[in-house]
Symmetry: C2
Subunit: 343 residues, 2 copies
């Protein structure tokens, strides 16, 4: 890493004084911009950032008392995904002897300005963002300071401008549904995620393709959009299970939704898997601990985070990286699926 | 915070050159010790640290480009507790505008030397450690550098030397058992944690006291030590449920063990809570998502972490802090408990 940084510096030839001169501002203003201070007019900031970027400005080597950090930013730590992603980044950080700074900030669409300011002062090696898209302003600020960033995007809606890591949602939906068909199910309900998330759509399309390829009818009244949470899974399952022609299996779209389906079945006195088969999605630890343990689609969250952190390291070293990496999903068969009950 | 730091500096009057002179070593050796470098003989390091501590040495104010950090260290991030604790520290960090550095390091008994070296270079505001005890050497290294540390100790076995935050385990065990007694149960099994953890003993003693105070017999064959994991809960429950005089309720000692009990009941065709009542412990999110949702003892993990981080801030400001803070636990009644079945 250090070697790579030294090489980088040879490429950046401009001094801050030169940037200040070209921008027609004081050196202290340039320094404020670099440090992410908010007391600089936007127009001035953008002008300075453009110059920094155009000249590929890089900071000089860190002082001996500073240690390298990788930042990981979530918009919500509440997510069941968060722990697995943290562990993935931590694994790579440990191997490279760097620390991991963790922040919860902003909305689903962008980290907040507070984080940006603090992060710029910390001068991390790079940033892993668990967001689907980034505002142009954020991208510009990172680029101007040569701070590489990678998006982990389990939602499957990558920003084409930023390197990102996701997983194969369509294939996951296909594998889940095929497994149910192979068990002998023909009438299969599906609860996917929110309508406005691409990963929900991809999983649902995988379901449709598996049904169609097996010559099975897709009954639109058995297709519901959920919210990826337990309560949503419960409500949708209650709706599906009160259908006059109740399905013998439900592909639940997420493990949390599958837990809701288990509860809806229990309340109705339906035994899983004897009366109803259930497949989840994600394979977070609770999938294994459910009663019965969930058959589910493994989304390699930890590996996705490891890949993202490794991409950062390669970006630092100016090595080529893929713009979009999509890791394979795989079916994990446990105890919540079985052949349908005999009529 | 900044004000407090400036006050601190007035108290520390020794320079590094004076420390070097008194220790009979070079200034660069003193600097190596301060930065946690490992290429210093242990005897020299200890001598320098003692002098630093004796003279209450404090570093000078941070440079403007450095931002304050709080460190949180786990020996394993796998733990179901980790996420809640991270969120608690993050909440306080956000309020103080500091970053959170997260590390997984070492064993159950101490963080590793790698972490120590990197942490000393990061110069955090303070350290929250999720360990039960700390080796004297680690305490000494932190003390010599005036880096405050607080232990979060859900295991209930606090190091008397270091400020720590735990929760009221005995009261939790009492509340769980009293609730079952109030439901009408008389024959109550208990699966507590590992025999060598104080929190397991405290919860079990709470159970015993509740039974004794209600005039109920404690059957030693219904008391089992577990491992706080799902599989252990399953195995112990299988043992208890095959008892010739099967209990009508089990206090499971942790939510994960309670999930194992639910599965053992399901496999035997026992309905929870109709045939068997189950109480967990911890109230981690999965307790709410179990089927049926678990009645459990809420251990305020997030609040414990918030308290620990706030204690750090008070220690920085040289305000008095308690050596040991024990937060209250509380019973959360959900759907896994009911009156016993009629004979």
């Amino acid at each position: 890493m250090l070697q790579a940084m030294r090489d980088d510096e040879k490429m950046g030839r401009i001094t801050l004084a030169q940037v200040a001169e070209q921008a027609g501002v004081s050196l202290s203003t340039v320094s404020k911009v670099l440090n992410g201070r908010q007391d600089v007019a936007t127009r001035t900031r953008v002008k300075v950032e453009r110059l920094l970027e155009a000249h590929a400005y890089r900071r000089t080597t860190r002082s001996a008392s500073e240690t390298p950090l990788i930042e990981i930013v979530f918009h919500e730590l509440e997510s069941i995904w968060a722990m697995e992603l943290i562990r993935g980044v931590e694994n790579v950080a440990k191997a490279h002897g760097t620390g991991v700074v963790l922040t919860e900030s902003g909305t689903r669409h962008a980290p907040g300005p507070d984080w940006m300011e603090a992060m710029l002062q910390r001068r991390p090696l790079g940033v892993v963002l668990v967001f689907s898209t980034l505002p142009d302003e954020v991208k510009q600020q990172l680029r101007a300071r040569s701070i590489p960033c990678v998006i982990i995007d389990p939602a499957g809606d990558p920003d084409p401008d930023v390197p990102s890591v996701g997983s194969a949602n369509w294939n996951g939906g296909l594998a889940a549904t095929r497994h149910l068909i192979e068990c002998g199910h023909q009438r299969i309900g599906v609860i996917t995620g929110p309508e406005d998330m691409l990963c929900s759509r991809a999983r649902l399309d995988g379901y449709r393709s598996a049904m169609t390829m097996a010559g099975l009818e897709v009954d639109p009244s058995l297709i519901l959009f959920g919210d990826f949470h337990v309560e949503g899974g419960y409500d949708r399952a209650a709706e599906i299970l009160s259908h006059p022609q109740r399905p013998t299996a439900i592909f639940a779209g997420s493990d949390l939704q599958a837990l809701g389906v288990l509860e809806a079945a229990r309340v109705r006195g339906l035994r899983v898997p004897h009366d109803l088969s259930v497949v989840g999605y994600d394979d977070v630890p609770i999938a294994r601990w459910a009663s019965p343990a969930l058959t589910t689609v493994h989304q390699p969250l930890r590996r996705m985070a490891e890949e993202a952190a490794q991409m950062l390291m390669r970006l630092r070293a100016r090595e080529p990286v893929s713009t979009r990496l999509e890791l394979a999903t795989s079916l994990v068969v446990r105890k919540s699926t079985a052949p349908p009950p005999e009529n």
